[in-house]
């Protein structure tokens, strides 16, 4: 017990020191990695928002099309957006010509201000979500990451998109209007490279459920599977193949099923925080922590249903 506490304290002290060390310049250290022809990913950390990561917990990506750069997601802050543009400028001289948002969550959409000179495109539901929750997201991120957020405020996308195809330069992008992680999740399949970009796919990090509808999420994962992409750029974690879709679906089915079973057995919500989680999900970072958040997101409605309360 004592040893564990000392370790915890040391970890906290180290975290504090490292946050002090990088707090001076607010440099996210963004390093685009090429994952396919013309296609680059800037990987976020599989962590929660903190003062040490500045909110950089989701992947962003860009495609150098030959007719300008298409950016997918803008990151957690104005600073991130600026640094992403600077990182793109180190790869190519082509200008950014369009931004697509996968969904309205703050780690994906609060860098918008730094792209206000180019069209920012998203599903209508994403624009609605950002209109309704953007201000709350923004103040929460200030609270959790501090000065990394300086000058950041939500900027709504100007262009609502629907499912369909768009060709920009050498690349034909298929836009898919999905839902489940949020009420509106845009997936983009680059037909030219077989690369799929999706905010509903989590690789090596526990899927997060604050705005989730699990049944929709599962059918969206099936739709992505049917596309047979050559590679997937997930919301967070390394680029991989369709195996991650099955693993996410396995977790979401387990989560939904075990919470429903617990409610049917009369388990109290606090007790549900401690349900055992199968070892096959041990590869997910933040497993217990994110599971406990999911109890907060999902259990109240499941429990009301178990008591026969009509929504």
């Amino acid at each position: 017990m004592r040893a564990r506490c000392v370790r915890t304290w040391l970890a906290a002290a180290l975290a504090l020191l490292s946050s002090l060390a990088i707090a001076d310049d607010f440099d996210y250290g963004l390093q685009p990695r090429q994952v396919a022809a013309d296609t680059w990913v800037v990987f976020g950390k599989p962590e929660n928002f903190s003062r040490s990561n500045g909110g950089d917990i989701a992947n962003t990506a860009f495609i150098v099309t030959g007719a300008g750069v298409v950016v997918i997601d803008t990151g957690p802050s104005k600073r991130y957006g600026q640094q992403l543009r600077a990182a793109i400028g180190r790869i190519t001289t082509e200008p950014v010509v369009a931004v697509y948002l996968t969904h309205h969550h703050p780690d994906h959409a609060l860098g918008n201000q730094s792209f206000k000179d180019v069209p920012i495109r998203a599903l209508a539901g994403t624009i609605d979500g950002l209109r309704e929750q953007g201000a709350d997201f923004n103040s929460n991120l200030y609270r959790m990451t501090g000065d990394w957020m300086r000058g950041t405020e939500p900027l709504l996308p100007q262009e609502a998109v629907t499912a369909g195809e768009v060709t920009i330069g050498r690349h034909t992008l298929q836009l898919l209007a999905l839902k489940g992680h949020t009420a509106a999740d845009l997936a983009i399949l680059d037909r030219s490279t077989g690369t799929l970009f999706s905010g509903i796919v989590f690789n090596g990090r526990t899927p997060a459920t604050p705005n989730a509808t699990i049944s929709d999420w599962l059918s969206s994962l099936q739709q992505l599977q049917a596309l047979q992409p050559a590679r997937i750029v997930p919301a967070v974690g390394p680029v991989g193949d369709t195996a991650m879709l099955a693993h996410d679906a396995d977790y979401l089915r387990w989560l939904d099923g075990s919470l429903r079973q617990a409610a049917a057995q009369g388990v109290d919500m606090a007790e549900a925080l401690r349900l055992p989680i199968p070892a096959r999900f041990d590869d997910f970072a933040l497993l217990r922590e994110e599971y406990q958040r999911s109890v907060a997101h999902l259990y109240p409605a499941i429990e009301r249903a178990s008591l026969g309360v009509a929504e």
Binding site: D107, P210, N211, M269, A270, E271, L273, Q292, A296
Partner: protein, 250 residues
């Protein structure tokens, strides 16, 4: 954080003292603890006791609906169980008199900021046994929920949904939910309006448990209680504007 605080949390010290002579040092190291002792225990005896097991989430993902459950293990003759929240503007959450109930309760609260949530059980000898844990206000993950209150429709106020489950040893668990806005009165223009009193009786009318609830209880409170004996239950109560609450749980 100070070394001394870490050491105290590590040691899980179980000091006992009369509040009158000395406030027992708080294993949760909350600056509000002396005020809590003054408010809830005065000159009664207080001990920190692992027999009072409190489950809370490490962080309040939804600060309007934080789940808490507490079970008192192995203490004889628990007369009263109270819950309070150190850093809430109104700390007192509830008081349960488990007349013929098991010393257990599950409930949901609102928290204002990072705070200990505590449950104390008073045994027949007058000693308060205290357990609890910190809840961090900061959520996180992919995003954070916005505190959108789902307003209860007027015609639903006071409606009870409840269900019984058998326990392995022949007793039963009761979960009940009362549709109610449970307004704290802390938001200007909205007077305090909350479920104040509940009683659970058996089919023969014998009172099994009595509950007094206070403002921090979440909207449309969901409560879990346990009883050593099976059988239909009757629930009665009222809110602070005298709306009556009545239900039978067959």
């Amino acid at each position: 954080m100070q070394w001394s605080a870490v050491a105290l949390v590590c040691a899980l010290a179980v000091p006992a003292a009369f509040a009158g002579e000395a406030v027992p040092p708080d294993p949760l190291d909350s600056v509000q603890w002396p005020a809590m002792v003054h408010k809830f225990f005065r000159d009664q005896r207080v001990v920190f006791d692992d027999a009072v097991q409190v489950i809370v989430p490490p962080a309040a993902e939804d600060s309007m609906n934080v789940p808490v459950s507490a079970r008192v293990h192995g203490l004889p003759d628990v007369q009263e169980i109270i819950a309070f929240i150190d850093f809430n503007p109104i700390p007192g959450v509830l008081s349960l008199r488990p007349l013929q109930a098991l010393p257990y309760i599950g409930f949901r609260v609102r928290v204002q900021q990072s705070t200990p949530i505590r449950v104390a059980a008073r045994t027949a000898d007058g000693v308060w046994h205290v357990g609890g844990a910190w809840v961090d206000a900061a959520g996180g993950g992919c995003t954070l929920p916005s505190a959108v209150a789902s307003r209860v429709r007027d015609e639903d106020i006071g409606k009870v949904a409840a269900r019984r489950w058998p326990l392995a040893d022949g007793g039963q668990r009761l979960k009940l939910r009362i549709a109610h806005p449970n307004d704290t009165g802390l938001i200007s223009g909205t007077p305090a309006f909350f479920v104040e009193e509940l009683h659970v009786r058996d089919a023969g009318g014998r009172e099994l448990a009595s509950l007094a609830l206070h403002e921090p209880i979440a909207e449309s409170p969901l409560l879990t209680l346990e009883f050593p004996v099976a059988g239909a239950l009757a629930i009665s109560g009222r809110d602070n504007s005298a709306t009556l609450i009545e239900a039978r749980v067959e």
